[in-house]
C-alpha cells in the first residue's frame, strides 16, 4: 500500500494479479477485457476500498490516443518493406485521430522472437498487429495478451485456435482456389479435360496463409481439373535464391510442366529459373504481390497473373479496428474486407 494508506491502481493490480494497464482498461470501460478479468478487478478494488471516481469512469473521450505496435517479418522481404511504408503513411494519415503506430520486425519467422516481441512493453501499447507464425509459443503469447485485455489483430496470416480480435487480409483459401482456376483455364481453355503437370512452390508452411493457399488450390484442382497432376510441393521460404534452385530442379525433372503457382514471395527466383530453362511464355506462372519485380515480370510476360492485396488497405483496416474498439463499435464495423485482386499485365494499377 502507498504511504497515505489510500489504495491506488497499483494495489488493485497486485491484488487482482493483473497489470496496471488492465486495471486502467477496466476503469475506463475500454473494450477487450474478458468478463472474468473485469470481475476480478472489481472484487479487488472493492476489497481495498479503491474508489473509481467519476472522472475516471467517464466514457472514454473519442480522441484518446491509441498506441499500436506492428510486428512484421524482417524487412529483407519486400512485402514487409511495403507494409512498413504503409505504416509510416498511416502514422501521418491517422495522427489527427490520436493514433500512434510503431513497427518492429522479427527475424526468420522465428516464433520465439515473435512471442517475445508480442509481450514486450505490453503495458504501454493499446493494441498489437502481427503477421502470425503458427506456433504454440505465439498462441500462448496471444492468450496472455487476451487475458490482459490487449487487443490483437492478425495481419496477412492468421493464427489458428488462439484469441484475437480480428484477422485482416485476403482469404487465403480463396487465393489458392483463384490461382487453380486461372491455371486450369489458362492451360486447358474451355475444355477442362486436358492433362497437365503443375508445380507448387510455397513460402514458409509455418504461415497459415501459405497452408490455406495450398488447400484452396488443391480443392479446385481436384474438383474442376481432375486430369491435372501436382508434381512437387516445394518450400522456398520466400527467398528468391531458394526458389530459383527449387524451380530449376523441378523444370529439369519435368520439362513438360505446364504451370507453376508461387504461393509466397520471391517469384523472381522462379521466373529466372523458367527463363534459364528456356521455357518462358510456355509455363504459366501465377504469383503473389505487386512489388516492382512482380510488376516487371507481369509486363514482360514471364508471370501471367498475380494475386494482390493492397498494403495500405491492410494497415488502414487494422488501424480502423482499434478506432472502432475505442468508440465501442463492433471491431469490423464499416470496414471493407480485403478482396483477392487479380492483377494481369493489362490492369496493373
Amino acid at each position: 500500500m502507498s504511504k497515505r494508506n489510500l489504495p491506488n491502481m497499483k494495489d488493485v493490480a497486485d491484488l487482482a494479479r493483473v497489470s496496471v494497464a488492465t486495471v486502467d482498461r477496466v476503469m475506463h470501460q475500454r473494450p477487450g477485457v474478458r468478463q472474468r478479468t473485469i470481475d476480478r478487478v472489481m472484487v479487488a478494488s472493492e476489497k481495498l476500498g479503491y474508489l473509481f471516481d467519476t472522472a475516471n469512469t467517464a466514457p472514454p473521450s473519442s480522441n484518446k490516443p491509441l498506441s499500436i505496435k506492428f510486428l512484421l517479418p524482417d524487412a529483407q522481404n519486400t512485402f514487409s518493406a511495403m507494409l512498413l511504408d504503409g505504416i509510416e503513411y498511416a502514422q501521418e494519415r491517422w495522427a489527427s485521430h490520436g493514433i500512434q503506430c510503431c513497427a518492429e520486425t522479427y527475424p526468420d519467422l522465428n516464433p520465439e522472437a515473435l512471442a517475445q516481441a508480442m509481450l514486450r512493453d505490453r503495458q504501454q501499447v493499446d493494441g498489437v498487429v502481427m503477421v502470425a507464425v503458427e506456433h504454440a509459443l505465439v498462441r500462448e503469447a496471444a492468450q496472455t495478451l487476451a487475458d490482459e485485455g490487449v487487443p490483437l489483430v492478425c495481419l496477412v496470416s492468421d493464427l489458428t485456435g488462439a484469441p484475437r480480435t480480428a484477422y485482416v487480409g485476403m482469404d487465403s483459401l480463396v487465393c489458392g482456389r483463384t490461382a487453380a482456376h486461372m491455371i486450369g483455364r489458362f492451360v486447358s481453355g474451355v475444355s477442362a479435360h486436358g492433362h497437365a503437370k503443375v508445380g507448387l512452390i510455397s513460402g514458409s508452411l509455418s504461415l497459415r496463409a501459405q497452408v490455406d493457399r495450398q488447400k484452396g488450390f488443391m480443392q479446385v484442382l481436384t474438383r474442376d481439373f481432375s486430369n491435372f497432376q501436382v508434381v512437387g510441393l516445394l518450400e522456398g521460404q520466400e527467398q528468391a535464391q531458394t526458389n530459383h534452385e527449387l524451380a530449376l530442379e523441378l523444370l529439369r525433372r519435368h520439362p513438360d510442366i505446364a504451370a507453376i503457382y508461387c504461393m509466397g514471395g520471391g517469384a523472381m527466383g522462379v521466373a529466372s529459373a523458367i527463363t534459364q530453362s528456356k521455357l518462358d511464355h510456355r509455363v504459366v506462372l501465377i504469383g503473389h504481390g505487386l512489388t516492382p519485380v512482380v510488376r516487371r515480370l507481369l509486363l514482360d510476360g514471364t508471370m501471367d497473373a498475380s494475386l494482390y492485396q493492397s498494403p495500405q488497405a491492410l494497415i488502414d483496416n487494422a488501424v480502423r479496428i482499434f478506432i472502432n474498439q475505442r468508440e465501442g463499435n463492433e471491431p469490423t464495423e464499416g470496414i471493407e474486407p480485403i478482396r483477392v485482386q487479380v492483377m494481369l499485365r493489362e490492369n496493373l494499377p
Partner: protein, 349 residues
C-alpha cells in the same frame, strides 16, 4: 415538426440534444466543434431528412457542411441498385467530413428529362454526381452548372470538354484491354491454324465508358500474334425482345465463336441465347459490373469473368473530392485509385 412537415434546424438541435447555436456552427463551419458533436448533429440532420439548402450555406465558410446528390437513372441495370444501397449504407461514414449524401433519380432513356433533372438537382444541392451520357443537351446542362459554380463529378462514365470537377471510375480503355487479355488467356492455347473469332456485344454508344472499352478491347486483340476476327453486335434502344433476337442471330451466323465480350452491364440476352444454342461453357464470356444476374451467371459458368469497380470506393472518392474542393485541398487527397478488378467464380466477394 413545422407545419409543412419539413424538419428545421430547431428539430435537428432537439434530436441531437445540442443548442441551436451549435447546429448553426456545425452546418456553417463557423468555429471549432468537437468531432463527436459534429457527427451527432449530422446524424440527426440525416435521420430527420433535413436537407441543407445551398441558400443557407455560407459560401465563404471553408468548412461548411455540404449536401450532395447522386443523380441516377430511375431504371437501370442491377449494379445501380447496388450502388444506391452502398450510398445509403455508408452515409453515416461521411458525416464526419460534413458531407450529407442524397439520391435523386431521373427518367431513363430521355436525355431531355435528364438535362432538366441535372439543372434542377444541381441547383438544389451543393454538388452533383452523375453518370456521363454523351449528348449535346447533357453537355449543355453541365456547362450551365459549371457557370453557376456548382461542382459536378462524373461517375463510371466520363464527359470531356465540359467543366466537371473530376471523374471517378476506372480507366475504361484499360478495362477493355483487360477483357481482351482475359479472353485470349481463358480460351486456352490455340495452334496457328485454328480460327479465332470474338464477338463484341456493345452497350449503348452514348456512354463514353462503352466506347473506350471497345477501343481498348480491339487494340489488345490486334496486338495478338494470331489473327482474330471480331464481329460486333450493337445494342438497340433498350428493348429486350430486340436484344434477344440480335443475340440469337449472332450465334446462328457465327456458330464457331470463341468468345463474347459484353462491354456494358447488360448480359441477359447473350446468356439466354448461349443457353438456347447449348453453347454455354463452350464460348468464353467476359462481362462487366457485379449484379445479382452476373453473380449467378458466374456461378453456373456461363460467364467466365467479370470486370468490376468497387462501389464503396466510388462513393467514398466522390465524397472526399467534394470535401477537398470545399476545404481548398488538392482534389484527390485521401482518395484511392479505382482499380480494374477481375472476378472469377472463385474470388467472387
Amino acid at each position: 415538426m413545422a407545419k409543412r412537415g419539413m424538419p428545421n434546424m430547431m428539430h435537428v438541435a432537439e434530436h441531437a440534444r445540442v443548442s441551436l447555436a451549435t447546429v448553426d456552427r456545425v452546418l456553417h463551419g463557423r468555429s471549432s466543434v468537437r468531432p463527436s458533436t459534429v457527427a451527432r448533429v449530422m446524424a440527426a440532420a440525416n435521420q430527420l431528412g433535413y436537407v441543407l439548402e445551398p441558400t443557407m450555406v455560407d459560401r465563404e465558410s471553408p468548412t461548411r457542411a455540404l449536401s450532395i446528390v447522386f443523380l441516377l437513372p430511375e431504371h437501370g441495370p442491377g449494379f445501380l441498385a447496388l450502388l444506391k444501397s452502398v450510398i445509403d449504407c455508408t452515409q453515416d461514414r461521411w458525416l464526419a467530413l460534413r458531407v450529407q449524401c442524397h439520391i435523386e433519380t431521373y427518367p431513363t432513356a430521355n436525355s431531355e428529362a435528364y438535362a432538366r433533372a441535372l439543372l434542377r438537382y444541381g441547383r438544389r444541392y451543393n454538388g452533383l454526381v452523375m453518370i456521363g451520357v454523351d449528348d449535346p443537351q447533357i453537355h449543355e446542362a453541365v456547362r450551365i452548372l459549371g457557370e453557376e459554380g456548382i461542382p459536378v463529378i462524373t461517375l463510371s462514365s466520363d464527359l470531356i470538354n465540359v467543366p466537371r470537377l473530376a471523374y471517378v471510375g476506372m480507366d475504361n480503355h484499360a478495362a477493355g484491354r483487360t477483357a481482351a487479355e482475359l479472353m485470349i488467356r481463358l480460351m486456352g492455347p490455340k495452334n496457328m491454324h485454328q480460327r479465332i473469332k470474338f464477338a463484341l456485344a456493345a452497350g449503348s454508344l452514348s456512354y463514353r465508358s462503352h466506347v473506350e472499352r471497345e477501343a481498348g478491347f480491339m487494340q489488345r486483340v490486334y496486338e495478338h500474334p494470331q489473327s482474330i476476327d471480331v464481329v460486333s453486335l450493337h445494342e438497340g434502344r433498350s428493348d429486350a425482345d430486340g436484344d434477344d433476337r440480335r443475340a440469337c442471330a449472332l450465334l446462328k451466323d457465327h456458330r464457331d465463336l470463341t468468345g463474347i465480350y459484353c462491354n456494358s452491364g447488360g448480359i441477359s440476352a447473350v446468356a439466354r441465347a448461349l443457353k438456347e444454342f447449348k453453347l454455354a461453357h463452350k464460348v468464353v464470356v467476359i462481362g462487366h459490373a457485379l449484379a445479382p444476374e452476373t453473380r449467378s451467371l458466374l456461378m453456373d459458368g456461363t460467364l467466365d469473368a467479370c470486370i468490376v469497380e468497387s462501389h464503396p470506393l466510388l462513393v467514398g472518392n466522390c465524397v472526399r473530392i467534394f470535401a477537398n474542393w470545399r476545404d481548398g485541398n488538392p482534389l484527390t487527397q485521401g482518395t484511392e485509385q479505382i482499380r480494374i478488378q477481375v472476378l472469377f467464380r472463385e474470388n467472387l466477394p
